[in-house]
Amino acid sequence: MTHFKTRFWLLVPFLLAACGNPGASSGIDYDHSYPPQQGGTLIDAMTGEPSGLIPMIAGESAASTIAGYIFNSLIKYDRNLDLEGELAKSWDISRDQKTITFHLKPGLQWADGMPLTSADALFTWQLVTDDKTRTPYGADYKLVLKAETPDPLTFRVSYSQPYAPAMDSWAGLQILPKHILQGQDINTTAFARNPVGSHYYKLEDWRNGERISLVRNPKATQGQAYIDRIVERIIPDSASQFLELLADNIDSMVLNPIQYARIFPSRPELGKEIALYRELGNGYTYLGFNLKHKPFDDKRVRLAINYAIDKQEIIDGVLLGLGEPVAAPYKPGTRWVNPELKPYGYDPEKARQLLKEAGFEDHDGDGILDRDGKPLAFEILTNQNKQREMSAVLIQRRLKEIGIDVHIRVLEGASFVGRFIKTGDFDVIVLGWSLSLDPDQFSIWHSSQTKPGQFNIVGYNNPQVDKLLEQGRLELNPDKRMKIYHEFSRLLLEDSPVVYLYAGYGLPAIHQRVKGIANPAPPAGIGYNSYEWYIPEPLRRNEMSTR
């Protein structure tokens, strides 16, 4: 949606100049402290609409947001991104690390009052591994050799060999009710638009293209949330969301850097009503080389380009400072990041020297380096994403300074993937990875994953890294795993198959009437305890207007 962001710029001078008072500001003191209390409605805005609410079939983020309110998994990530039980009160891993046994909490119920047992977990596993189910996520679960339910509170899965990412996969599998879905076609069932779950909220009403509202589930398995209702309004445009926030028609949204770093500071009165948060996103943006193409098979060339790119400049220019440089493909602040690794600094001299070593010099005096009569020139491909486009432009400028001729080509998403990524027909790309919370990145970096459609799109091949990635999958002990992935990140940084550009922040803005939000955000982000958020009665909206 690049044009929406561009258009927002046009509104900026106006918003900066406007000194009118936003909305019906009513002299309420939001700083006053209130004890937690139940009730109230939180109105949030999302840019997209879920296609359905069966999480394993609907892949988009809007669906996971809503499904996350409705369904439970066996286990979940806590505030520090360590695993803890959700439906399971505990789990055991057998000595040979091949079998995981989940012990469910007793007395669990679905929102309709039926008991939630291990049979539901087994049923969900059967669904996600069923060939008829239209899910892209079956692969992790198909590794399970045998899944069994010795009793209603025990769910046991066995693998043919230890599989460390299994824990993450079980945290990602939301359990569906067998008593409702049995015998139905999961791909077409009306359940997708009228789900019954077990989490804090249940679906109240879904008006296509307009909003989805959720109410507290009195039978919730994890206790009761404070906030009674959550309304998710579907507003595709970020500028419109922002106006709704200013007008106090919604309570929360995710800001873009311009809204966060330009508009808010210039209008201090907004801070009285709206609190800004900053959390680390789950992804990073990188510049990737096609390692099968010359000259990118030469490590010196890759390093030279890495040294020639000023990452801080990109963060300041593109994200307005709201991001971090990274040196490993992991979410900053988690245990998987090797603290000894530092990103490559900006050093054009060193870049020139490395290129000279690789044989690139300006022989014909046209300002562009060349080797064997061929100029050092390539095309950076990226999809329609404003931040990636702007990063590519800054990179183009820096590379020109050391004598590399760069062109930029921006493509529509599906064409980009279908025509260039799958076929490997590219030199350099600017792309991003969003990451799961498990450190396993076998599918992205292992040399066996370079076929069309697989995810090692840069064609990285390092036997040492392959070995570490294989080991990491077999090791379930978090401390030993950490060492493996620290070493893996070190090798990866050394080889520089990609240039890490930045990891941007998520920038939620939430009305001050919502209390109980952790600030600064823990590694898991502010949403990890949204069930503990509350809206004190004196600060609530007129309840009639939200019904």
Binding site: S51, G209, R211, L243, S415, L431
Partner: protein, 339 residues
């Protein structure tokens, strides 16, 4: 006349098939399919799963075979179900065995877009008529110049920008109108008159913005039509009879000047089902523009084909209606037909 009508209707069928074949082929020329976007860049989604999805949607078969499947379904007026939106029916609702109703995507989006477009066309006509008449009557004098400048500024101003300013001014700075959406959150609890008022309030800015852009064309049409008519002899006669100027203009001139306008309005009927992606995103209105845009982005072929086919059918039908109306209105055309 009946023979003429039947003949026209009969020829619409091959035309529709042709249009659908061309749009089907062009759509499939675009690289990628729903599996390259749906599972897109999720390392958890394996290539085998994506191949499986391609098979389930018949995307692995030759194009003409796929078109055959589509045509076969279309023969029974079955528009199929969406790939990307959890099997939602593309056109009309489906009722399953348990009586759950799954609303069709076009069925929901079309009335919204139609409502906005009809309201905005109505607003355009209501404003353009007096503006055009005044323009023509005061030709090349200040009122005419002012109106021309106004309608051209309205035409030239970027709609989204003006929309944002209006949303800010009327919705944030003053609490006069809602900013986005179609209904208030408490819509279901309102009485019928309140519901109507609520919808009008929500549609006010979108309709105004969409009408402003169309004002220039129509008002200039009226102006030029009026100018033509005002130079006719019968207007001079009317004036010579000593009729008051208002009667001359509104009774004698305007009626004749409106004939070309009716043609233009007839031609704009097929356009009524198309929505603007930008306006719909901005105002969070779930209309046809956004539906089509998202479907193209997701390579959701059944939805794309559904919208294109319905659009084509409506266009053909619109043309037929216009022709029939002409034949009915004008004996010369009718007689030409009879031959």
């Amino acid at each position: 006349m009946t023979k003429y009508l039947l003949k026209r209707l009969f020829w619409m069928v091959p035309l529709l098939v042709g249009i659908s074949l061309i749009s089907f082929l062009i759509m499939h020329l675009a690289p990628g399919d729903v599996t390259t976007t749906e599972a897109g860049f999720n390392p958890k989604a394996s290539e085998e799963s994506r191949q499986k999805l391609r098979k389930l949607y018949h995307l692995d078969e030759p194009l003409l075979t796929q078109y055959g499947y589509w045509l076969k379904r279309m023969a029974t007026l079955d528009f199929g179900t969406s790939f990307a939106s959890h099997q939602r029916p593309v056109f009309l609702q489906i009722k399953d065995a348990e009586g759950n109703i799954n609303k069709g995507m076009i069925q929901e989006a079309l009335p919204i877009t139609l409502l906005i477009n009809v309201l905005s066309l109505g607003l355009i006509v209501v404003c353009a008529l007096p503006l055009g008449v005044v323009s023509a009557v005061t030709r090349n004098r200040p009122p005419d110049r002012a109106i021309t400048v106004f309608v051209f500024v309205g035409f030239a101003v970027p709609g989204f920008w003006l929309a944002l300013l209006m949303m800010y001014w009327l919705g944030v700075a003053h609490d006069w109108l809602p900013i986005s959406g179609l209904h208030s959150l408490d819509y279901e609890h309102l009485s019928t008159p309140e519901k109507i008022a609520d919808t009008i309030r929500h549609l006010a800015i979108p309709v105004f913005i969409s009408a402003l852009g169309g004002l220039a064309g129509i008002s200039l049409f009226v102006r030029n039509g009026m100018l033509d008519v005002l130079h006719q002899d019968y207007i001079t006669t009317a004036r010579a009879k000593g009729l008051p100027e208002n009667t001359v203009i509104y009774r004698h001139a305007l009626r004749n000047a409106m004939l070309p306008l009716i043609t233009i309005l007839g031609l704009s009927i097929p356009g009524l089902i198309g929505g603007s992606v930008i306006a719909e995103s901005l105002f969070a209105i779930p209309g046809m523009g956004k539906l089509f845009y998202d479907a193209v982005m997701m390579r959701d072929f059944p939805v794309i084909m559904g919208i294109l086919t319905i659009g084509a059918a409506l266009t053909l039908l619109g043309n037929l209606l216009a022709d029939v109306a002409y034949a009915w209105a004008d004996p010369r055309v009718r007689r030409g037909v009879a031959k």
